[in-house]
């Protein structure tokens, strides 16, 4: 994988990499060829298995849980105002 590919996937994953971190992907080819061991396995007619239980997932009832309320959840956020999460433009406005 070339440098431009690493940067492309880093961009897709929304992670900014330092030069040192980009260099650390030098062993990517080793990992890639390790994963290529599956190339020669015959899987004709085999259904993909996404999950070990293969059961249909239940839905739970949409009920209010008083222990999980908006203010307790928002204590974990870095920037909020009036129960709204603030993004950079809002932060700028709220501090102007």
């Amino acid at each position: 994988m070339e440098r431009k590919d690493i940067l492309k996937f880093a961009k897709m994953a929304r992670i900014r990499l330092s030069e040192e971190e980009i260099d650390s992907f030098a062993d990517f080819e080793k990992m890639h060829s390790f994963l290529r061991q599956l190339d020669n396995v015959g899987v004709t007619g085999i259904e993909p298995m996404a999950h070990p239980l293969e059961q249909s997932q239940r839905l739970r009832s949409d009920e209010y849980d008083p222990k999980i309320n908006r203010s307790s959840i928002q204590t974990c956020a870095s920037h909020t105002k009036d129960f709204i999460y603030l993004a950079p433009e809002n932060i700028k406005k709220s501090t102007d």
């Binding site: 994988m1 994953a13 996404a50 239980l53 239940r58 839905l59 739970r60 993004a87």
Partner: protein, 483 residues
């Protein structure tokens, strides 16, 4: 005191040989003295522990105690604990105080267990050595220069060093069983779906399963009795009936069919480990079990299959860390892209970044069909091997790890590290219950024996492990510096 198991301590508490507060103070004192050498706790919850212990004493006095009332435990720091930091070993969650308890935490709290603290781990459960923690590596109580295994290395180390009676862990590819083998403790990964994942911070959702690290199989049965069961909050938890796992511990091993898969006894397995494991198998044979050679032919494909699928699931799960609703947030973001990219760059460690990028690549148009879908098909081949095998035997016996605990910093590259899970990850691919128990020592380092069973047949694994532990004393041995 340090040699007692949960049932022994529970009995002594009820007979008022000592109080829960006294017991808790002993463990807190050991933690203060001995944890600095291990770095096994991220958070020590002294105030919570003493409060829990006081309540446990009251409960015992009122006659409403459960077998776990007053029992000191620790949680791997990926189980959400209301009002207590839950970091998952990451800078990303260094400031995260959970607003709710994981179901496992809630159930143990309701049973009256005493929380001593939260244990160190590989960041977001990605690792086999506990070297990938924001809080520094955990050290192995049997050799402080060696790793304790990972990712539940902190939980394994604190049980091995007798800094707690038991601990929770989680296992996506061997993260309970490999550290259990490296530290001489009993590590149980239940069947996928047996234990609720609600409140467990996700790494790879079709693999992750909560379990236990304990001093014995009997202790594991007692904990599983409490944490198992369907949870409406986890749509992947199973509604299979939950037996009393302690009731069948003493069942006879006569006619129990144990399979030995040849693929688990070949290179890169240390032949001396194979000898110890086969000696343990012969002990079970003398107790009435029958041994059967067999083959699980797709075993060599386990690690590439596991790493393709778990990396894709990791990239998906960790996309939630945007620095907005919770988790690390960068200073003075210019715009929303800058916010995401710098918060994630600063919050995640290098191993996590590698796996996210690998998963992003493998699920992109470049990798989706050739890797991701292919790996899902190979996963079925591996699971089918087990389905066929369990028509002939009741459980499978193998070594837990190819080597004993290795030195910190000794693995030359990622592939070498990933191969540490060679013998454990196939149980996760197939969703099977699997248990590691101590079976000897090699150059003064512990060796683990792995028992893997049919779906939801934890009772059989615990029965066989308990019978073995009645005839062997490996699990009672303590590391010198911590005895």
């Amino acid at each position: 005191m340090l040699l007692k198991t949960i049932s022994g301590i529970s009995h002594a508490l009820k007979k008022k040989e000592f109080s829960c507060v006294e017991l808790t103070k002993i463990y807190l004192s050991r933690i203060k003295t001995l944890n600095p050498a291990l770095n096994a706790f991220i958070t020590i919850t002294e105030e919570t522990a003493l409060n829990d212990a006081h309540q446990a004493d009251q409960r015992i006095a009122l006659g409403s105690a459960t077998p776990l009332t007053g029992i000191p435990i620790a949680h791997k720091d990926m189980f959400c604990t209301q009002g207590i930091k839950t970091s998952c070993g990451s800078k990303m969650l260094d400031n995260f105080i959970s607003p709710y308890d994981a179901t496992v935490v809630q159930k143990l709290k309701e049973a009256g267990a005493v929380l001593l603290g939260k244990t160190n781990m590989d960041e977001f459960s990605m690792g086999s050595s506990n070297e990938h923690s924001f809080y520094g590596p955990v050290r192995n109580p049997w050799n402080l220069e060696a790793v304790p295994g990972g990712s539940s290395g902190g939980s394994a180390a604190v049980v091995a060093a007798r800094l707690t009676l038991a601990a929770t862990g989680a296992d996506a590819g061997g993260s309970i069983r490999q550290p259990a083998a490296f530290t001489n403790v009993t590590g149980l990964k239940p069947t996928y779906g047996r234990v609720s994942r609600y409140g467990m911070i996700a790494f790879a959702s079709s693999f992750d399963q909560g379990g236990t690290l304990t001093r014995s199989a009997e202790d594991a049965a007692m904990l599983l009795n409490v944490i198992a069961g369907m949870d409406p909050k986890d749509s992947t938890s199973s509604n299979q009936p939950v037996p009393d796992f302690t009731q069948t511990l003493n069942a006879t091993l006569k006619k129990v069919r144990i399979g030995l898969p040849k693929e688990f006894f070949t290179d890169p397995l240390d032949p001396k480990i194979a000898d110890l494991v086969l000696t343990a198998a012969q002990t079970l044979e003398k107790m009435g079990a029958t041994l059967h050679d067999l083959s699980l032919p797709h075993t060599p494909l386990t690690i590439p299959t596991y790493h393709i699928l778990s990396s894709v699931e990791c990239a998906s799960n960790l996309a939630r860390y945007d620095g907005i609703r919770f988790g690390h947030c960068c200073e003075h973001p210019k715009d929303i892209d800058d916010w995401y990219e710098r918060s994630r760059a600063e919050g995640f460690g290098l191993e996590v970044k590698h796996r996210i990028l690998m998963g992003t690549y493998l699920s992109s148009k470049e990798g989706y069909e050739d890797f991701y879908i292919k790996a899902q098909k190979v996963r079925r081949l591996i699971a089918n091997d087990y389905i066929e095998t369990f028509k002939k035997v009741d459980l499978i016996l193998s070594p837990t790890t190819p080597t004993t605990a290795f030195k910190i910093g000794s693995k030359p590259n990622r592939v070498a590290m990933y191969l540490s899970d060679l013998l454990t990850a196939s149980a996760n691919l197939a969703g099977l219950p699997s248990l590691s128990i101590p079976c000897g020592f090699l150059d003064n380092m512990p060796v683990g024996l792995l028992l893997t069973g049919k779906p939801f047949d934890e009772a059989r694994l615990l029965n066989v492990a308990h019978q073995y532990q009645r005839n062997a004393d490996w699990h009672r041995r303590l590391p010198k510096e911590f005895s």
